[in-house]
Amino acid sequence: MKKTLKLLGLGAILAASVVSCGPTNSEVDLTEEPEICQKLGISQKDLEKEILGDYTAKYNVGAAIVDSTRTLERYKAFAEAEYDLIYESAIIVPWLSQSGYSAAVSKTVPYQAGKASYGLTADKYKNVVVTNEAMTKEKRAAVKAAYDSGAQAMPITADSEGFISLANVNANPVVGADGKYTVGGVSFDTKKTLNVSYASDVGKAKYNYLTNTWTYNSQKYTNMVDGLVENDKYGNIVGAIATKYKAVTNADGSQTWTFKLRNDAKWVKNSDGSEYGVVKAGDFVNSIKYVLNALNASGTASIVTGLLKGAEEYNAATLAAIEAGQDANAVDFSGVGAKAVDDFTLELTTKVETPYFLSSLTYSPFLPSSAQYMAEVGTKWGEDENHILVNGAFRQTETTLGSKLVFTKNDKYYDKDHVYIDTLVQKFIDGTAGPDTNRKRYEAGEVDSFTVSAKDKEGWKTYVTGEDGTGTQRDPANPNCNGILSSGGSTYIGYYNFIRQNWKYNDNSLRKTDEERVATAQALRNKNFRKGFLYGLDVLHYLSQYKPGSEAEWLYRSYTNRELTYATDTDGKSKDYGEYVDEVYNRKQGTTGVSLSGIKNAETAGNSDPVFDASKATKYFSDAKKALIDSGTLKESDFPIKVDVIADMEATTRAYEEEMYSKLETASNGVVDIQLNVPASDDENQDWGSISNNYDFSMWSGWGPDYADPQTFLHTMIVGGDMVEQLGF
């Protein structure tokens, strides 16, 4: 899922104005080559192949291996491709991973809720148990011990009909008659209300989960609508509405997954909880049809077209129907690999063998939706919480935007025994609040949990380091504070704009002449020039702005996020995919024991960032300059090359940015001149970063995993990949 979110931990970004530099004429001309391409004398497609071709070739090697028994081979091939992407073709500069330790104080019992490094599970409040007091270290240790030792493996034996059960063998215990929740020999008094804080109200396309790609909204409806599967507390895929499944490979290479559904999952109306009907297989098919119908312009269509057989053809057919002025709804759907065999049996057919298919089913296009209800409300479906049906754990009963949201337990939920909260209250926390406001609210009893911010010196001292200063984020001093490892999440990268089409500036002194624009484009084509950036950016210093004292935790120099997926190596050990990339890195760079993950590298090699090396950058830059001059592409007078970067709107962060870039400039020895272009408002910032691509180099964006396989990340950067728009293609 493309997440172009602003990074966490920033101070309040003051109100944005309506000022927008959005293009007034948004007619897109597809026939003409962009101006830059004409000046460079190469077509857009060819340039794309030139830059991304090598990487794509290596990627295809790995992507071709689909057999689930050859995962190790697949991952090793992907690791080679990943190394090429970053360190040989030098297309991106990865720097941040959103997984790491945070010090949290909360009144919820740990290790009970579903866990996953992808998808929507992390925001579910099902299985969350609230207690009356903050967790202490002893109790936490007891619960953790029970968690570590209590893992049951998912059953893999098929029954008589060939179905594998998706029942949750690691289900949590139910609350006892005395109102206590017991796990690991410890009993907790339970509370029925949970107060949390949230910072952003729902955005556009709010509850239309079939078209929406905004995180703020998915956090809300993931608690209201259940899909086929979900994750248990160990990350295993267990059934939600599906009870068992069967995967059969067909003769033509496609794979048919048959799911048996439970018959007691009910649809209720959000406003009053009254029953509407039963969730049936047809509801899932309806969702897929809706998503694939080009008429609905769904942002999640690409997930489905990439997986299901016949999906892309159907999508294209609806498109053609619209262009011809015909009714897209009448297009034949039968060729798509989604069928309701009967009310409680669903058949999904994937294009090829997809071992990670179950993990991708946690995503929103695979959530059910009632066709009958859609017909009833028409274009209002999904506009707000009262225009969707609920089959999940909670109903959103009260909404006061900018103040609070209240969720109430859904009595008709099929798994209500595992919903331990009756009322979930989300309180809005305003931008003017400081980093310590959440802590103050917790201490005043207004919210039940908070994460200690590194910028909150007083709170940091009280909870994390303690009076003697020995505590750390991983092992905080205060008995009520615990180090939580957040897994999964997005990685953030720096990337280039190879085909720039907009040059907007707020500071006129930064304007570039035509010659300068061409010079930049030519320079960017040179691999060594890009490697100069890769080795010359001191991202660790930049990170210290967000996480002072714990930058290493968040530093990450590879693209696919760590702890996303594991494969068993030849020696029998299960290793994180990231470790295979480390192996390739060590082999190619001639080092040993270096890890691309900041924390690990700090432990083994002493310094967190294995990549930043100013002398290497100098060398690459001078090589690039020499090559460009020798080949006659550029002249001496073209240097330093002006590279525009979208500057951070936050004045504090910008100071760090300036320092990082000035280090780069010094290392480049006059080859590069970084121009920081400051947007005037949030709108302009978003426009420059994701719409008009007003940059030569940007660290604005990142990617989050859609399923548990490196392909979800690597697929974004191949020729025609999901993210290449940001690269200018």
Partner: protein, 323 residues
């Protein structure tokens, strides 16, 4: 018997000497025209009343301090006080940096005063424009009855449009049509686009009151052209009031600048001006209170000064108080 001595005295030819004891007074035709009392000079009377007021004394003192501060302090600014410096971000007040550093690592003390210069300058220009335009329009408005009707409608209309809407639209239009314009000019345009309305209304009210006074009625009857009446009759009367308004308007402009920055339609975030620095401080308040409190104190001091002077001036300029 007669007193021969008395008679002798009476019949003394020295009678004529008594006359010489009296000197005849000159007869001066112009005497009656001369007023014995001291001439009343309006401005001298204003000065006298002004000085007597304690508010004026405080105001003048603080105004002098302000001007001195603006002139002298930036002179002492060390090299690089306004460069961002990550090592010193959010530094607490210390011996080196009296007021600490702001969120970009700049020296707060010097930033405040250099910024104050800029803010005052902008406020002065905007106020001047507002006053001039407002007065001229207000005079015409109050004088011509037909114009009055139209202008009242216009006033009602514009004052009911939410000012935030106007500012944002204006900012948007300016950004799109005149991207080259420096942000200071944009700010001045924003501040002056509807600022004159209030002044115009005020002047109009005053004009209505005094147009009916005898001297004006006399002028009108005598056929004096409207423009001359406005300039020579009405304006001098209004001048003191306008000056008072000006002194209250200037801090108002600075406060407006702060609000505009808050909503993102003011000067860019890194500008060295009171508004921008104060706004930056808002988000940091809970952790680094000095970043907000010191600029706020400076702003409060400016408002305080101008308000005092305005109060004292308005009292002093009221002829009824010249006793």
């Amino acid at each position: 018997m007669e007193n021969v001595e008395n008679k002798q005295v009476l019949e003394n030819p020295n009678d004529q000497n008594l006359d010489s004891l009296f000197v005849p007074v000159k007869i001066d035709e112009t005497e009656s025209e001369h007023i014995a009392a001291e001439p009343y000079s309006y401005w001298k009377a204003v000065m006298r009343t002004f000085i007597k007021r304690p508010a004026a004394i405080f105001g003048t003192i603080s105004f002098t301090i302000l001007i001195l501060a603006i002139i002298i302090i930036p002179f002492f600014a060390p090299e690089g006080y306004d460069a961002s410096n990550t090592a010193l971000i959010h530094a607490a007040p210390s011996a080196e940096r009296i007021w600490g550093s702001d969120l970009m690592g700049r020296d707060l003390f010097f930033i405040c005063f250099v910024g104050l210069r800029k803010s005052l300058w902008l406020a002065l220009i905007s106020s001047a424009i507002n006053i001039v335009v407002g007065t001229l329009l207000g005079l015409a408005w109050g004088y011509f009855k037909k114009l009055d009707r139209i202008m009242i409608e216009v006033y009602n209309l514009i004052s009911n449009v939410p000012s935030l809407l106007l500012y944002m639209l204006l900012a948007f239009i300016l950004a799109n049509s005149f991207p080259e314009m420096p942000s200071e000019a944009k700010l001045i345009i924003s501040l002056t686009c509807t600022g004159w309305l209030g002044i115009a209304l005020f002047v109009r009210n005053q004009t209505l009151i005094i147009t009916n006074r005898e001297y004006n009625v006399a002028s009108i009857t005598l056929g004096t052209p409207a423009f001359r009446i406005m300039m020579k009759n009405l304006l001098p009367y209004l001048l003191p009031i306008i000056i008072t308004q000006l002194s209250l308007l200037i801090p108002g402009m600075i406060s407006s600048e702060v609000s505009l920055s808050y909503f993102g339609v003011g000067l860019p975030v890194t500008t060295v001006s009171v508004g921008a620095v104060l706004n930056n401080g808002i988000a940091q308040f809970t952790l680094y209170p000095w970043e907000l409190l010191w600029p706020a104190a400076v702003l409060a001091f400016v408002i305080f000064t101008f308000y005092l002077i305005g109060l004292a001036l308005s009292d002093a300029m009221d002829p009824k108080k010249h006793r």
